[in-house]
């Protein structure tokens, strides 16, 4: 039954989490249409440098710049996005108190600060875009978010997820080791549900998947409880990030080989179609011959009859 519709389009956060999930599962991304994926991301960038989440229209803010940077990182291709305008939007969102809001003029917040720091880091522009003075103010704002655990804005309550959002920002800034690990750990564990497990935003309220994930990541940043290390920029485990790196190395080799082949073509001048065709025929013959000879050898020498 035909069930398509005109509103079946991608969502940038799902693209990010979909690719991240594939990497976590050890997939080689061979079945991902990378070109289409990147064109889709490109289509979501707005003139002010920020991104909306889907083609039909949505709000636009720091979250989706982060998603775009992650997708480009995972597919090892930043050509689809305008990094200059994205960086411009990020910097316009720098607040008077030294951290980042969701957009220009908006209040600085742990979540948007993470998205801004991680995006700049993924684009390789963190220390070239922020001045030493700006970096110092940002460090101070982030480290000031710790009361026991972390909050997301001054004078708000601690919330488990900020142990990741702010913790990871501090990791990116290189000063996570300055955090009071014990107080942070105690807070996160205090939000653990003693009956069903999992973590909640605050102690004694119902746990949920998001805060459980963030609680685990918040603890993993401190290398506690035998948790795997987590990459603070992509928000996946180090293991998954290394797998991604391996894929990128393989893609780089494949690209170099392709370029070499194309250089040979241009050099020879003649049709390489004949050359490759001849090669294919030779290979097919070798395989065919091998498929006859090898079983015969096996039968002749190892058969007990």
């Amino acid at each position: 039954m035909e069930t398509t519709n005109n509103y079946d389009c991608s969502h940038i956060a799902m693209t990010y989490t979909g690719l991240a999930s594939l990497l976590i599962l050890g997939d080689d991304l061979r079945r991902v249409n990378k070109h289409a994926c990147l064109e889709g991301i490109k289509a979501l960038q707005l003139p002010d440098g920020s991104f909306k989440s889907s083609y039909d229209g949505s709000e636009n803010d720091m979250r989706f710049i982060y998603c775009a940077c992650c997708v480009c990182t995972m597919l090892d291709d930043f050509s689809a996005i305008n990094q200059a305008t994205a960086t411009n939007f990020i910097m316009k969102s720098l607040c008077h108190d030294g951290a980042f809001g969701q957009g220009p003029g908006h209040e600085s917040h742990g979540g948007s600060t993470y998205c801004a720091c991680a995006s700049l880091q993924l684009m390789g522009r963190l220390t070239t875009t922020l001045s030493p003075k700006q970096l110092k103010r940002l460090e101070y704002w982030c480290i000031s978010r710790q009361r026991n655990g972390f909050n997301g804005r001054p004078h708000k309550d601690d919330d488990t997820c900020y142990s990741f959002w702010v913790g990871a920002s501090l990791k990116i800034l290189g000063i996570f080791d300055l955090v009071d690990f014990k107080e942070n750990e105690n807070f996160v564990l205090s939000t653990q549900d003693i009956i069903v497990g999992g973590f909640a935003k605050w102690p004694q309220i119902n746990p949920d998947a998001l805060h459980s994930y963030m609680g685990v990541c918040g603890l993993a940043l401190m290398s506690l409880h035998s948790l795997q290390p987590v990459d603070p920029t992509l928000n996946i485990s180090e293991r998954a990030r290394l797998h991604m790196q391996t894929l990128h190395e393989q893609w780089a080799v494949a690209r170099k080989h392709k370029e070499a082949v194309s250089r040979v073509r241009t050099k020879s001048g003649g049709s390489t179609l004949d050359r490759t065709h001849a090669g294919t025929v030779a290979l097919a013959f070798a395989i065919g011959l091998g498929s006859v000879i090898i079983p015969w050898v096996f039968k002749a020498y190892f058969s007990k009859s």
């Binding site: 039954m1 709000e59 600085s108 300055l178 009071d180």
Partner: protein, 320 residues
């Protein structure tokens, strides 16, 4: 037999509604091996099976509009439903103010949902009618003084329709209720930045404003951040009054960690501008960092040790 006034409206599944009998519902296709499947209720499945059907045929009718309302009540975060509802509203040329009344009720129930606020912005963009927006966002802010979506929408409306006039008064009233409302402090900065701008005169008066608020609550991070923030690219020492005030507070025995932090920054500027005796200044910085690390801001003791070490490394080791 109950009278009609006692009768409760019984919800009818779309599959049982005569007026929907021409539509073939489309079930959700989770593929051959679904993982972490959501346990949808029958009501949910029924409504969304029919929603998928109208999406497929692109039906933009009154009954389709009603169906989006049901879908929204079941999952107000489904952005596709909201998107299609906007398409239908435009197609049927529906009354925006009526839609706004409906939306306002939903926002009050779901004030932290992104989709409802985006829908509100879309409606205001279509109608170009901002007349209800300040009042509405004020209502939401009264329920939750720091609702990020409400503040975002409010800022957009103010900027788009140039409704700056009474905003400072609004901010002041919020700070009267809670001096530590960081959203209100941010709003103050936003208004001034976009109206008078931070001219030297304005910076001086805003420094006085922040000082007056710090006098009331000396450990108010928002007020201290605002104080630094209004200076912009100017150095701390640009304002003699600020330095004098900070020194006076310190002499009064004030131990607010934010006061001590700004003092350290003053000393850092002195070191940078080579306007002091290095050894003596670093000695003062050490005293302050130790006070923070050991007494007044112990959770950040490692940070304050790092700050001290950074300054010593930069200035003492480079002493000729």
């Amino acid at each position: 037999m109950s009278s009609s006034s006692d009768e409760e409206e019984v919800y009818q599944f779309y599959r049982d509604r005569a007026e929907w009998s021409d539509v073939k519902p489309i079930p959700q296709d989770d593929g051959a091996s679904p993982v972490v499947q959501i346990a949808y209720s029958d009501k949910f499945k029924d409504a969304f099976d029919y929603f998928r059907a109208i999406l497929h045929t692109n039906e933009k009718s009154e009954r389709a509009l009603e169906l989006t309302q049901t879908a929204i009540s079941l999952n107000p975060a489904n952005y596709t439903v909201w998107q299609f509802r906007r398409v239908i509203l435009q197609h049927l040329k529906k009354d925006i103010s009526e839609e706004m009344n409906y939306l306002s009720k939903i926002i009050k129930e779901q004030p932290k949902n992104y989709q409802v606020w985006h829908h509100r912005r879309a409606l205001v963009e279509w109608s170009r009618d901002s007349s209800k927006e300040l009042e509405f966002t004020e209502k939401i802010i009264k329920l939750d003084q720091k609702n990020y979506h409400a503040w975002q929408h409010r800022q957009w409306v103010i900027q788009e329709f140039k409704l700056w006039d009474n905003e400072l008064t609004f901010v002041d009233s919020l700070l009267e209720q809670d001096l530590r409302n960081n959203s209100a402090w941010n709003e103050r900065y936003f208004i001034i930045e976009n109206t008078t701008g931070f001219t030297d005169q304005v910076v001086n008066s805003e420094i006085q404003y922040a000082i007056s608020k710090i006098d009331i609550a000396t450990k108010n991070e928002s007020a201290w951040s605002y104080l630094r923030g209004v200076l912009g690219d100017r150095s701390l020492t640009w304002s003699k009054e600020l330095r004098d005030q900070v020194t006076a507070w310190r002499n009064d025995g004030l131990k607010s960690p934010y006061l001590v932090a700004i003092l350290i920054d003053f000393y850092e500027e002195d070191l940078e501008n080579k306007k002091c005796n290095v050894g003596e200044t670093l000695g003062k910085v050490k005293e302050l960092c130790n006070e923070l690390a050991n007494e007044t801001d112990t959770i950040r003791r490692k940070y304050w040790k790092y700050v001290l070490h950074r300054l010593i490394k930069e200035y003492q080791e480079n002493e000729p």
